[in-house]
Symmetry: C2
Subunit: 120 residues, 2 copies
Amino acid sequence: MSKIKETSTNFANKQALADECPEAYAANIIGGQWALVICSWLFNGKLRFGELRKLLPNITERMLTLQLRKLEEHKIVKRTVYAEVPPRVEYELTAIGYELKPIIKQLEEWGAKHKAQNIN
Amino acid sequence: MSKIKETSTNFANKQALADECPEAYAANIIGGQWALVICSWLFNGKLRFGELRKLLPNITERMLTLQLRKLEEHKIVKRTVYAEVPPRVEYELTAIGYELKPIIKQLEEWGAKHKAQNIN
DNA sequence: TAAGGTACTATAAAAAATGTAAGTAATGAG
DNA sequence: CTCATTACTTACATTTTTTATAGTACCTTA
């Protein structure tokens, strides 16, 4: 992913915030550029790497990999590799990942409402 | 805030995502390092700049300003300046900003649960 | 005259996130 | 042998976000 500098002020601040504020902790986990959208697609069921890539037309393979790895690391998604050639890898939400569904749905509703309000 | 390069791929991607996915749109608005926590404090009522700064011990004045400006720009918070000396500026949530409360609360609950689960 | 308090701004630098382009392994099809 | 397929990885470049540090204007009080 690129290593985070554990000596940086930024790292210390994130740590401290995440310790005290579960909402900041959560934001760190699902806060990537594509994380929420990836989760949204996965709410409908498991998907292969290539399927996700097609669903997210502008994402690069690198970013897709990075985001999936981060999500996996935080136990939001489960990765299953099938020993085939060409390879097949499937991603699906874990139980705790799936629990994001109502939250993301509400966030969608809020976003849609906000967007409608701020059209000039 | 620093200008965003409207010619960058990153900008284009964010735009496209925000257009299609209200949840990505929302994440762009409340996605800064401190935004959620600022909102959390403001759910309890209006606060002055200096009060917020004290509540967020590690934030720099610059970051606080930037985040508040962004929130203000998106109509999440309302800024009121009193023509006094020394100056007094109060921040409070708008109606749509206040509507984030249940969402952030759920995110907090999710975060707390996730954190508890992932203690080794 | 000087100091103090408040809410900032300016500038630079560091760190983090994202994007670009190329390459890899394994195997089956032709 | 060569090519295609899939899910990556790597090295590097660019962009965005965050931090650091030092100011500013204003009026009041001492």
